[in-house]
């Protein structure tokens, strides 16, 4: 007595109801992924802000300049003694970074050090040419701009934050010549790496408002 068409109609209706149900608690998997998408974005941005808070600490940003010189100190003044960037970010002959900075901190003389001490390339500038720190959005966009030469992908950034000696240095920056300890970033290294991971896992979202 039920016709084929009625059966198809009922099937369609059932499928429709099933699909509608999927958007409610009746189909938890699909609903979670959408909710996760919005939750991840918020968490991702929050994680980014944590990463940003470290990147813009003097220990990191002093070498991520947009100029032909590094900065030094918590007040981020222009590095003294007329040192300049040089072609490879390692200074110039006679006045290389390695002229003073060795592969480890020299606490007896107050000079910080880590393996391969040098300036971040200009593509990794996180300041403007007036030594003003760029916004969170701008720095995030800089990190995620894959058209930049030397740019790293997500896993690359995690690895960089986890293993790069100059990054590690920021968390053990040694003592000044007056015996005081250099100020640390707001997170520990572990927290920094974890925040980086969270941000990367979230798809490296950038905050909207610059």
């Amino acid at each position: 007595m039920y016709s084929d068409m009625a059966l198809r109609g009922w099937s369609a209706l059932l499928i429709l109801i099933a699909c509608l149900a999927c958007s409610s608690t009746l189909c938890p998997a699909q609903e979670t992924s959408q909710k996760v998408a919005s939750t991840n974005s918020a968490a991702g941005i929050a994680a980014w802000q944590q990463v940003y808070s470290v990147l813009t600490t003097p220990r990191c940003i002093n070498c991520h300049t947009a100029t032909n010189y590094p900065e030094q100190g918590d007040d981020r003044h222009r590095h003294l003694f007329n040192v300049v960037r040089g072609p490879g970010g390692k200074g110039v002959a006679g006045l290389n970074c390695a002229t003073c900075h060795q592969s480890a901190n020299a606490d007896s003389t107050g000079v910080p050090g880590a393996y391969n001490w040098h300036l971040a390339p200009l593509s990794m500038e996180w300041q403007d040419t007036n030594d003003g720190i760029l916004s969170s959005t701008a720095v995030c966009q800089s990190l995620t701009d894959h058209s930049k030469s030397g740019s790293l992908d997500g896993p690359g950034i995690v690895r960089h934050h986890e293993q790069e000696p100059l990054v590690l240095w920021a968390f053990q920056p040694g003592h000044r010549r007056d015996g005081t300890a250099r100020s640390l970033p707001p997170l520990t290294h572990e927290q920094f790496v974890a925040a980086t991971r969270t941000w990367v896992d979230a798809g490296m979202p950038c905050p909207q408002n610059p």
Binding site: V92, A93, A106, T109
Partner: protein
């Protein structure tokens, strides 16, 4: 106190010193090599410049514990080298020195420059020599002497 084997001007020298002692003072007081000078102790003036594995290095801020087996060349040894000799000869020909106290460091920086740039421009000279202080102010003749040395080496 620790014992270190240092390569200084091609010779192996052994010193016993506190690990934090700057290389400058190991050279001057343990090895009695006083050509490398103390001017400030904070790497501001360059009077303490030596070459460490070919890199101009301010020995007043490098603890002896971080030197390792990198060969050290000091002002006493830099003349063994063609570039070093040319720079010293140019310094004498151009009558550069006044009190002379900074000149060991000036020469070591100039040698590093000329080893990396055979014909340095005025800008190269200003950048590479930019961290060496001469209180007497012999900068004009330092520029001249670097150019003279470059000509000799050409």
């Amino acid at each position: 106190m620790q014992t270190y084997k240092l390569s200084v001007n091609g010779q192996t020298r052994e010193v016993t010193a506190d690990p934090g002692t700057p290389l400058l003072w190991v050279l001057r007081e343990d090895l009695k090599m006083t050509g490398t000078k103390y001017g400030c102790g904070i790497s501001a003036c360059g009077a303490c410049t030596v070459h460490l594995a070919g890199v101009a290095t301010r020995s007043c801020v490098v603890p002896v514990s971080l030197v390792g087996n990198r060969p050290i060349v000091t002002i006493e040894g830099v003349g063994e080298d063609r570039v070093g000799r040319a720079v010293q000869d140019a310094w004498v020909a151009e009558d550069v020195v006044q009190c002379g106290y900074c000149q060991s460091g000036q020469i070591m920086s100039a040698v590093a420059l000329l080893k990396s740039r055979r014909q340095p421009s005025d800008e190269d000279i200003e950048e590479s020599m930019g961290g060496n202080i001469c209180r007497c102010g012999t900068y004009v003749r330092i520029r001249n002497a670097i150019k003279t040395a470059a000509q000799q080496l050409a």
